[in-house]
Subunit: 87 residues, 2 copies
């Protein structure tokens, strides 16, 4: 299934969250990841993030698509994600 994940983490945990998410999904913007992922792997990702997160400060939204791809993705401005950017 196709997944979009957006996180809003406290600065202290953001680099760890980035590392976790990049194991499973492609990084497309500062706090946005997407990609094809199996149900089992998504569960693993959620467990890893759940352990890291402070539920009083952090927030993660996971969208999973019925179809394998959303209709369209449009990027305005800077493309911030990708392998070349180091945080």
């Amino acid at each position: 299934m196709y997944t979009i994940l957006v996180y809003d983490m406290n600065e202290k945990r953001v680099s760890k969250a980035l590392k976790i998410c990049r194991k499973y999904l492609n990084w497309v913007q500062n706090s946005v990841f997407e990609g094809e992922i199996t149900y089992a792997k998504l569960e693993k990702l959620k467990v890893e993030l759940g352990k890291l997160m402070n539920d009083d400060e952090d927030s993660v939204i996971i969208y999973t698509m019925r179809t394998d791809r959303y209709t369209d993705r449009e990027i305005m401005g800077l493309e911030k994600g990708g392998e070349e950017t180091i945080i």
Copy 2:
């Protein structure tokens, strides 16, 4: 059509971007908005954001769905969006 919008704006412009996006979509997380929107209104939103944005610093991703709703949205941790939160 159903739209998810995520922005990553320089601090100087983030409150204006929030104001623009909330005119058209529902606020679901710090930098994430979603909702049903017509093609014409989405174009208006893009024009407004385009005028505000500095393309060297800011980034906006807009997903538009073929189906009227994505399959599933899961929120982990804090729900940061919504009417009650003032920025």
